[in-house]
């Protein structure tokens, strides 16, 4: 299988799933798709190296999350696009149109991005606390497992409240 074929095969297998994962952090499908597309575009020029990694999907997800976070920070400095996108429930994905999903997304949006990222990596990707800390650490800002636990605890409490209030409403 040639490079282009292997790349296309990997892209077709993993693109949707990674968009779904990045959505948990961005809470906006357009933003998630853009970040993942950017990550896949970067992947092509590094394919010969990254394809030999044990888990190339983790590389794409990490790059996509970095891209998304960079855009989010830029947005906080005044880029109206992402601010609007986050403020607009209309941008919530089709999968999020039911009441409980909207509550979940609203709760996610109340959390800092670092908490959302920790929740994604632990609960959706399935990494341990140690692995989440390693994944989120940078050379300049190492993240300790205790910090991750704190983020997970607070994130879980916020989302738990949203889910339990939904159950009460449903009753």
């Amino acid at each position: 299988m040639g490079d282009a074929e292997a790349y296309s095969d990997f892209y077709e297998r993993s693109y949707s799933a990674i968009v779904g994962q990045v959505f948990v952090v961005t809470t906006d499908r357009g933003e998630a798709e853009e970040a993942v597309q950017e990550a896949f575009a970067r992947l092509w020029s590094r394919w010969s190296r990254v394809s030999r990694y044990e888990n190339p999907e983790a590389w794409v997800r990490r790059v996509a999350l970095n891209v998304a976070m960079k855009r989010w920070r830029r947005a906080r400095r005044g880029d109206q696009l992402v601010q609007d996108a986050h403020a607009d429930t209309g941008l919530v994905s089709e999968a999020a149109t039911t009441g409980d999903r909207l509550d979940l997304i609203a709760a996610l949006r109340r959390l800092p991005a670092s908490h959302r990222q920790a929740l994604l990596l632990h609960y959706v990707v399935g990494l341990s606390v140690q692995e989440v800390a390693h994944e989120m650490s940078t050379r300049l800002a190492p993240v300790r497992p205790g910090t991750v636990k704190s983020w997970l605890h607070r994130g879980r409490a916020e989302l738990g409240n949203a889910l339990s209030s939904q159950e009460i409403e449903d009753d």
Partner: protein, 460 residues
């Protein structure tokens, strides 16, 4: 194993909810061809290869230039060297959604991204206020140096006063507007409620109907002295039984081309009937009824011996103006919002079934069709609600989003991208413009909720 090495509990309801959310989004994501990303990746890499040495060279040049400035300043002469900024890195491509209808896959770009990334344009806009009618795209026409619109002269409760004279027993009026000054220079009161108009063969054409009176009336009006040249009651079946308020006004159209006029009316059963008439004699050349399963007419355009009809089921009909017969039909999308013909192309806006109202993907798309065959020449991906063009191929359109409001955009007909965008005087989805027309470098917008007619001209 320490607590830090533990995997998440897979039965945790929070974890389950998050996984469900991610999975739900993943299921609805369309996967674009990977070749686009490979091309983009390769392009970015080439740029990086060029940019790194370019940055080094720029740095060296900047040091040399700074040194030169210091030397020249100290020696008492010279001027500051101009510094050419590096080109900003190109923006990432717009996020898009793919939809397949009738075997054709359409692209629809993220509406919010299109709006926020489009360059703004400097325009001059003027608005006049009166109860102008804008039931559909055929509510405005241009010809004989004037802009032609229809107004309702029945009391509407709105703030604007009609221009159509004192005879309030008439249902509506044709209004002649000076295209330069926007002043109303003439009105013609009409007993049957005028609902659609067109300009062709040197005359203004008005299609009207009256609840309780069978048939539709097509009237040909002299544009110079505003008198009726000829009129004919055309078919469509008896409308006497139509309940008050249900006039089907938005499904009535008239268009002219060469020596024919095409009128779209409703049959007694509620189907759209397309009647082609000889412009000189007003006799019927041909008539076809669109099967109800293929929807009601929502758009009409005519040029080059062909009338193009769109329906609210996404069907596009090609009707031969010489015979009045259907020459072809195909489904493009789930709803045709507008059709407009230039010399070079037919511009069409459609709704796609994947769209969600009030979202980044409302499921709108703009197509450029071959004016002879109707084949899709370009799928622009632009989520325009309405698009209009004129014979010179000047293309304008309307974007509408609850978050951002309404925008008027000028489309580069060469690149099929947004050349410029400006916010519409109307804000909010309840005030989305109803009609857009293009003539002589200006876009004309009718907003029936605001009872306004706005002219937008690009400031060059």
């Amino acid at each position: 194993m320490t607590e830090n090495d533990a995997r998440p509990n897979m039965t945790d309801p929070v974890g389950e909810a998050l996984r469900g959310l991610a999975l739900g989004v993943a299921r609805e994501v369309a996967v674009a061809p990977s070749i686009q990303l490979r091309a983009r990746g390769a392009r970015d890499r080439r740029r990086m290869r060029i940019r790194v040495p370019a940055l080094a060279l720029t740095a060296v040049a900047a040091v040399v230039a700074a040194a030169l400035v210091i030397v020249l300043t100290l020696s008492g002469g010279g001027h500051r060297p101009s510094v050419t900024p590096l080109n900003p890195p190109s923006a990432p491509p717009l996020a898009s959604q793919l939809s397949t209808v009738g075997g054709t896959t359409f692209v629809s770009y993220n509406l919010n991204q299109v709006i926020t990334r489009s360059p703004s344009m400097r325009v001059h806009s003027s608005t006049v206020s009166y109860p102008v009618l804008g039931a559909n795209e055929d509510a405005i026409a241009f010809g004989a140096g004037n802009t032609w619109v229809l107004e309702s002269t029945t009391p509407s409760g709105g703030p604007a006063k009609p221009l159509g004279g004192p005879d309030r027993s008439d249902c509506g009026a044709l209004v002649r507007i000076d295209s330069s000054t926007m002043a109303a220079t003439g009105t013609l009161s009409l007993k049957r409620c005028p609902l659609a108009l067109a300009f062709g063969d040197g005359s203004v054409w008005v299609l009207g109907m009256q609840i309780g009176t069978p048939g539709y009336r097509l009237t040909r009006v002299d544009p110079a002295n505003m008198t009726v040249q000829a009129s004919a009651v055309i078919d469509g079946g008896a409308r006497g039984g139509t309940p008050q308020g249900d006039t089907g006004a938005k499904n009535l159209f008239v268009a002219t081309d060469d020596a024919t006029a095409t009128a779209v009316v409703q049959t007694a059963a509620g189907a759209s009937q397309v009647i082609t008439l000889d412009a000189k004699t007003l006799t019927t050349v041909g008539s076809v009824t669109i099967p109800q399963a293929r929807g009601q007419a929502t758009a009409l355009a005519a040029r080059g011996g062909v009338a193009w009809l769109g329906t609210d089921a996404g069907w596009l009909y090609r009707i031969d103006s010489r015979t009045g017969r259907v020459a072809g039909a195909r489904q493009l999308g789930a709803w045709v919002h507008s059709l407009s013909a230039s010399r070079r192309a037919i511009w069409m806006t459609i709704a796609l079934p994947s769209g969600k109202p009030a979202s980044a993907y409302p499921g709108l798309d703009t197509l450029e069709l071959n004016p002879t065959t109707g084949a899709v020449e370009h799928d622009t991906g632009l989520p325009l609600l309405l698009a209009a063009t004129d014979p010179s191929s000047d293309v304008w359109g309307i974007f509408s989003t609850p978050r951002h409001g309404n925008y008027i955009a000028r489309i580069d007909s060469g690149t099929r991208t947004v050349a410029g965008i400006t916010s519409s005087p109307s804000k909010g989805s309840a005030f989305t413009p109803d009609t857009i027309g293009v003539n002589d470098g200006a876009a004309w917008i009718i907003n029936t909720n605001l009872q306004s007619l706005t002219k937008v001209v690009l400031v060059r």
